[in-house]
């Protein structure tokens, strides 16, 4: 049973990692707009810059 001496602190570390990852995501606005981000793919690209005219 002495393996729990290793596994329980390991579990704590994993918990800390999970909480850390979640906090990072919140701080970086990953949860700000859950509805409309995917719409971006369907939107038209901004008009490409006009090509320089070929000399005749």
């Amino acid at each position: 049973m002495s393996v729990s001496l290793l596994l329980i602190p390991l579990g704590l570390l994993l918990l800390a990692a999970a909480v850390g990852a979640f906090f990072w995501a919140v701080n970086n606005d990953q949860f700000e707009d859950l509805d409309h981000v995917a719409d971006g793919a369907a939107e038209d690209d901004p008009a490409p810059p006009a090509l320089p005219k070929e000399p005749p």
Partner: protein, 730 residues
């Protein structure tokens, strides 16, 4: 700490000063009430409005008796921080609060999951034997995880309870914090002793459920309440302005001033009230008026800020800056409606406060009883009673329902400008309609013109138009549309419902009702005057006598018949009270099938009629154009004014029909009645839930985590019903 200059602070009419700010740290109805009562008790403070949802506070006071510093200090002493209000600060504060709330939920949720595993281990160990040192290891680990959950995730409840106690009031956070602290410290004690049950997992789960409940509630309330902010948020941050030299520049919306020429691209929101400079375009004004069909606007037409340009890119000239646009006034009115708490909600708040007192008492009794019967179960039962009976659902029931109704009405183009209007609207039994501008279209046409004193027609019209252009009365537009000629008018003043007076070309002129003009002329009419005494005409005259008489005709609104019929279908009696001539009123009444119609009423007579109806016990809704009906609208149980423009600026009425559609009146009454039903059933549900839950919890049949779930679910149910009501087809 309070840089007074940074606050939105201005002189109001009536010699009062007013300030608006965010109260940081306000998170419950109790906090809002303590601000209202404490700040309201300061000398000279006339009005305190607190918007719980946006944490916005508005205070008006007499500068002779109090100063800005006094007001702000009082707020700080209550434990809140007065944050200056400026465009982005508010949404930044909301944004930060949302982030904090999410982080608290995440920590509590992850920790609760982890701890349930230790609990399983402890249970299994208790049944099949476990090394004492492993048991103690699991306990200590659970405690390690519980500390941040308790003091980071649970901080809002602990802080809320602390503020409540310091203010000597019992808020919702008090029983919650008591339960949390009891469970946490009992578990710490048992961990220390190395024996007995630990409740760390229950604490984490309770905090998790409570936080999720509050988070959802916060989102729903913000989503449905902040109709005003949604309006403002729909505006673009920057606009394209045309410079005098023909070039263009991007400027911030706030930098736009009246007279600027702006380019509005296709599909963009029109940023401010403006006039279309050239061409014509299609605009969707649904945000302003609720009118779903896009309309074509031609050169010279006025476009309200907030409309969407669907036709073609166009150039417009700004009428007003962004702060004074239609949209800004609407947002301010909605804000006002939401800050004042209706009596219904106040009563629920008071009830909730008494309720908390009883919970604490019952919890103490339950603890005593179980200690006597079975000490081992005393702790769990007391905890469950404290948790299960949180009166959140009770105090949420009314505000969320009213917020939902406001949203729904806004979609129909009806703006509610007073918090308690809906409550009163649900109970009315009589509708009094004004005629001009209400039943009939505000657009009048000029008919016959009779010149009386040797003045030629064009000159008479120019004089009339110049005087009337200063008036907001519906009749005025007929004159200003009839001719473009103008003369310079000075010293103009309007006499409500009677006419306009002003000096032009070296004489004082009056235009309006015959008796009004006659006061000035002091002479009789010439022989060729129209003989109809029933003021068929609008009269123009100076001290030298009557100069001209103008016949005006108006037409019934397209939806008037249907609207009156739907009002009758709701069981309301419908009357007409108009200042217009009797024959016209009778004609309109006949077309609408209304028997009680009175014409030629001046504002005092309308007021008498209103008082008479009220003395007979009727509850009256007055629908008018909002301009010359001011006193009558004010004395009605509920008042409803047509349209934007002048009505929006004065906003003396409880409801504004932004789309000028009479049909919305009946819809609004229906929604108000629906809201009343929703409020009542919400309150019944909240009470019923508590009446069932308390005995079960007191009997020890509800475990603490189940109590936490039940409490959160009861609040969410109330919020969800309001959300459904807001979304249901209007």
């Amino acid at each position: 700490m309070n840089a007074a200059g940074a606050h939105l602070h201005w002189q109001r009419e009536g010699g009062l000063e007013q300030v608006e700010f965010f109260a940081e740290g306000m998170h419950c109805a109790n906090c809002a009430r303590s601000i209202r009562t404490r700040v309201g008790a300061l000398p000279g403070v006339q009005q305190v409005e607190v918007n719980l949802t946006t944490a916005r506070v508005s205070v008006a006071w007499d500068p002779q008796r109090s100063r800005l510093g006094t007001v702000l200090d009082a707020v700080e002493r209550l434990g809140f921080h007065a944050v200056p209000l400026n465009g982005t600060a508010g949404s930044a504060a909301q944004h930060a609060e949302r982030r904090r709330s999410l982080k608290r939920i995440g920590l509590a949720g992850l920790a609760a999951m982890q701890m349930s595993m230790y609990t399983v281990g402890l249970y299994a160990g208790a049944l099949s034997g476990i090394d004492p040192w492993i048991e103690q290891l699991l306990r200590v680990t659970a405690m390690l995880i519980a500390v941040p959950v308790m003091f980071y995730s649970g901080a809002p409840f602990l802080r809320g309870a602390w503020h409540d106690l310091r203010r000597r009031s019992l808020g919702m956070d008090v029983p919650v914090a008591a339960a949390l602290l009891l469970a946490f410290f009992a578990s710490v004690l048992n961990t220390w002793r190395g024996s007995g049950a630990i409740y760390f997992d229950s604490v984490a789960m309770f905090i998790f459920f409570l936080l999720v409940g509050r988070h959802v509630e916060m989102n729903v309330r913000r989503g449905s309440l902040n109709a005003g902010e949604a309006l403002v948020r729909s505006l673009p941050a920057t606009v394209t302005r045309l410079r005098a030299d023909g070039g263009s520049e991007r400027v911030e919306l706030a930098a736009v001033a009246a007279g600027d020429r702006l380019v509005v691209p296709l599909g963009a929101v029109i940023p401010v009230d403006c006039v279309l400079e050239s061409g014509s375009t299609l605009v969707d004004e649904s945000l302003i008026s609720g009118e779903a069909v896009a309309v074509t606007r031609d050169t010279g037409a006025r476009l309200p800020g907030g409309a969407i340009n669907l036709g073609a890119a166009c150039t417009v000239r700004a009428d007003a800056d962004a702060l004074h646009s239609t949209l800004a006034s609407m947002a301010a009115l909605i804000e006002r409606a939401q800050s004042a708490r209706p009596p219904q909600a106040l009563a629920a708040d008071r009830a909730a406060s008494h309720f908390v007192f009883w919970i604490v008492l019952v919890a103490a009794a339950v603890a005593g009883l179980w200690l006597w019967l079975d000490p081992a179960r005393a702790f769990g039962a007391t905890l469950a009673v404290l948790v299960v009976t949180c009166p959140c659902a009770l105090s949420l029931a009314t505000p969320v329902a009213l917020a939902a109704a406001t949203t729904r009405l806004a979609r129909r183009g009806v703006l509610v400008t007073r918090a308690d209007a809906l409550e009163r609207l649900a109970s009315i039994d009589t509708v009094v309609l004004d005629k001009t501008g209400t039943l009939t279209s505000a657009r009048m046409r000029l008919g016959e013109v009779r010149c009386l004193g040797g003045l030629e027609r064009e000159r008479a019209l120019a004089l009339a138009a110049s005087l009337e252009q200063l008036s907001a009365h519906p009749l005025a537009a007929a004159f200003t549309a009839a001719t473009t000629a103008r003369v310079a008018v000075t010293d103009a003043r309007e006499s409500a419902g009677r006419g306009v007076e002003g000096s032009a070309a070296g004489a004082t002129w009056r235009i309006g009702r015959r008796d009004y003009v006659a006061e000035l002329t002091a002479t009789g009419l010439s022989a060729d005057a129209p003989r109809d005494d029933d003021d068929e005409f609008v009269w123009l005259g100076s001290a030298r006598g009557f100069a001209a008489a103008f016949a005006l005709t108006d037409t019934l609104r397209a939806d008037a018949v249907a609207a009156v019929n739907s009002l009758r279908a709701l069981g309301l009696s419908v009357r007409i009270a108009s200042g217009d001539r009797r024959s016209t009123v009778a004609r309109v009444a006949a077309e609408l099938g209304i028997t009680d119609a009175a014409g030629r009423m001046n504002p005092e007579e309308k007021l008498m009629l209103m008082r008479g109806l009220q003395q007979q016990g009727h509850r009256v809704l007055m629908v008018g154009d909002g301009i010359n009906d001011g006193p009558v609208l004010a004395s009605a149980h509920v008042s409803c004014a047509m349209g934007g423009g002048a009505a929006l600026a004065h906003a003396a009425s409880d409801l504004l029909l932004m789309n000028e559609s009479l049909g919305s009146v009946a819809a609004a009454i229906q929604i108000a009645r629906g809201t009343r039903g929703l409020v009542r059933s919400n309150l019944r549900w909240a009470l019923g839930y508590n009446l069932c839950a308390v005995p079960l919890a007191a009997a020890g049949l509800v475990s603490p985590w189940l109590a936490a779930l039940g409490m959160s679910a009861s609040s969410l149910y109330v919020v969800e019903r309001a959300r459904r009501f807001a979304r249901s087809a209007a």
